[in-house]
């Protein structure tokens, strides 16, 4: 009897995670449906203006400025973190001796453990002034500064997951290539990296998804202006920063601004979910089985 009760209690703990997912979807869906009762999906996807705080007759709910803001920051971050992270992984897995690795890996872990609000402070007080001294057209709030710190933030994700993938490549493959006279560079880039490609790709996708979901650094450094631009030295408003912006203000439930928060939240949830699922799929679908 006691055994069965315990079994059920433990099952409930595990099932709670499913309830969380259902809860997220239901909560987002309820207000999102109300939102799309007033705004057509076509307007949401194609209108180039996002002006929820204007008077009712001038309100526009086109998500493209927010989406563009998120993508600008995420792609800028990826441009830094993907090459740096992958090269770090190659260094750790193929070149560094054990002792050096034992020093470097904890440093990357510390980098991964620093709160995002701290990265925001760093962007605003260090990166932005630096950018402004080098590139004078840079504005106080700008996408580039946010992209740089988010890039630094996701380096550990790329490095550690890619290194796992590289280390999982069997030593035999390396030895085979060395036996044919390949240099270490040739072994790394033509044997080990291709063999670990699924894990590396999965880490890339996961890192970009994290960059899109990043909130505080972007809110602090990139500004609060919904601005459809590809210029990284201008302020942008990302999806996450918009959600923070609305919730900092006193927005009564039932208004369109309040509902737009959930519509944006739903978009964010779906985009990151798809990327995470694709990342897991890439990992399992293209995993080379070495037994």
């Amino acid at each position: 009897m006691k055994e069965r009760v315990i079994g059920w209690l433990l099952f409930l703990c595990a099932a709670l995670s499913t309830m969380v997912t259902v809860g997220i979807v239901l909560v987002l869906l309820r207000e999102t449906v109300a939102f799309f009762g007033e705004v057509s999906l076509a307007e949401f996807l194609t209108d180039p203006r996002w002006t929820p705080n204007f008077a009712a007759d001038q309100q526009h709910f086109g998500i493209s400025p927010l989406l563009a803001g998120s993508l600008l920051v995420a792609l800028g971050a990826a441009a830094i973190a993907l090459p740096v992270g992958l090269l770090t992984a190659i260094f750790l897995s193929e070149y560094a001796a054990d002792r050096l690795r034992q020093v470097l890996k904890p440093i990357l872990e510390i980098l991964a453990g620093i709160p995002t609000v701290v990265y925001g402070y760093f962007a605003l007080t260090f990166v932005t002034p630096f950018l402004r001294s080098v590139i004078p057209i840079t504005q106080v709030y700008n996408a580039a500064s946010a992209a740089i710190v988010v890039g630094v933030m996701i380096i550990p994700t790329v490095a550690s997951l890619s290194e796992d993938a590289l280390s999982a490549v069997p030593q035999m493959l390396r030895e085979g290539a060395y036996g044919l006279g390949a240099t270490r560079f040739e072994v790394s880039t033509r044997v080990v990296v291709p063999a670990a490609l699924s894990g590396i790709l999965a880490s890339f996708i996961l890192a970009i998804s994290r960059a899109i979901g990043e909130t505080m650094a972007v809110t602090i450094a990139a500004g609060g202006l919904a601005n459809l631009t590809a210029n990284p030295f201008e302020p942008v408003l990302t999806m996450t920063a918009f959600i923070v912006q609305v919730s900092l203000g006193d927005t009564p439930p039932g208004t369109m601004v309040y509902r737009s928060l959930f519509a944006v939240g739903m978009s964010l949830f779906l985009i990151t979910l798809v990327m995470n699922v694709v990342s897991q799929w890439v990992l399992s679908r293209y995993r080379e089985a070495y037994e």
């Binding site: 433990l10 995670s17 996450t240 964010l268």
Partner: protein, 313 residues
């Protein structure tokens, strides 16, 4: 590469012949091609090492920026004063206590549920589609942006359940956020317990719960604790979900019950960062130093706990 093999291949081997074989070209007298390959190899190694340094340099720059800005404002008065409009009188008393309350409350909620879920998945569940679905779902939840958990917390805990903008709402929200991390860490620790231990206990007639409670769990506990503390340190650094559920940044009291309003260090830091005056920037940096000290102590505790358990078993 095993540890032994790696030991042979010493640190950065600039200038040394490429291990372990001479490039083929040398034997056939194509010295130019051979040299090019060797130069390419060296250049690539230097590029890899430089890339690795990017992370290190960024960390050093970040820490020295924060310490240079914040050390001046960090004193006893800063730790024991409430937030204030006047920078010279402002402190983090409410935020510090709020963070401690939130940490303990989140641990009390998330730890038992997370370990329970991991025990179910590893020790009880049948290997069927329900289990696989739960497992996939947990992996996906780990990738959901923290601000989405904030939206969930706002709708469910603050509004629907009527907990208002209380510590309880904050702790419940953060618990949901870190549950996937705790579950996955605990599962890994449970998987590392050899099955011979379970089989021996079953062989002596123990029930499943007796096996789990008195054999498996104690052995897995160091790994579980380490994972939990690391997850909690993520919760302590979270800002966005707490902004969503409406934690305030200007409080002149410390919480006395779980239904009180609260603020936490990251929120206090955020509110100071967004002020235009330089003095508040210094306060933000001082707050960051305190926050980072707390996070690093938590990591140290995780390591000590793990080592002590290891020594005992």
């Amino acid at each position: 590469m095993s540890g032994e093999e790696r030991g042979l291949v010493e640190v950065v081997g600039a200038g040394r012949p490429p291990p372990p074989h001479e490039p083929l070209g040398s034997r056939y007298g194509d010295a130019g091609r051979d040299r090019r390959r060797r130069v390419t190899g060296t250049v690539f190694m230097v590029v890899c090492a430089a890339a690795t340094l990017v992370g290190v340099v960024a960390l050093v720059a970040l820490l020295s920026d924060v310490i240079a800005d914040g050390l001046g404002a960090l004193d006893v008065q800063f730790l024991t004063s409430f937030a204030s409009r006047y920078p010279e009188r402002a402190g983090i008393k409410a935020a510090l206590w709020g963070s401690i309350w939130l940490l303990l409350l989140t641990a009390a909620i998330a730890f038992p549920i997370g370990v329970g879920a991991a025990l179910y998945l590893e020790e009880y569940a049948a290997r069927n589609w329900v289990t696989r679905a739960i497992q996939t779902n947990i992996a996906n939840l780990a990738g959901v942006p923290s601000i989405v958990y904030g939206i969930l917390g706002l709708a469910v805990f603050v509004r629907a359940l009527g907990f208002e903008r209380s510590l309880l709402s904050g702790a419940l929200t953060l618990s949901l956020l870190i549950l996937p991390v705790i579950i996955m860490a605990a599962q890994e620790a449970l998987r590392a317990v050899p099955s011979s231990i379970r089989e021996a206990a079953y062989g002596l007639g123990a029930t499943r719960w007796q096996v789990v409670w008195s054999q498996v769990l104690p052995l897995a506990m160091p790994g579980i604790l380490t994972g939990t503390i690391l997850a909690l340190s993520r919760a302590v650094g979270e800002t966005a979900p707490l902004i969503m559920i409406g934690a305030v940044s200007f409080l002149a009291f410390t919480p006395t019950s779980i239904l009180d309003q609260f603020t936490v260090l990251p929120l206090q830091i955020y509110s100071w960062v967004t002020r235009p005056q330089d003095e508040f920037r210094g306060l933000a940096a001082a707050g960051i130093i305190v926050l980072l000290i707390i996070l690093m102590s938590m990591n140290a505790v995780a390591i000590i706990l793990r080592n002590r358990y290891r020594a005992r078993h």
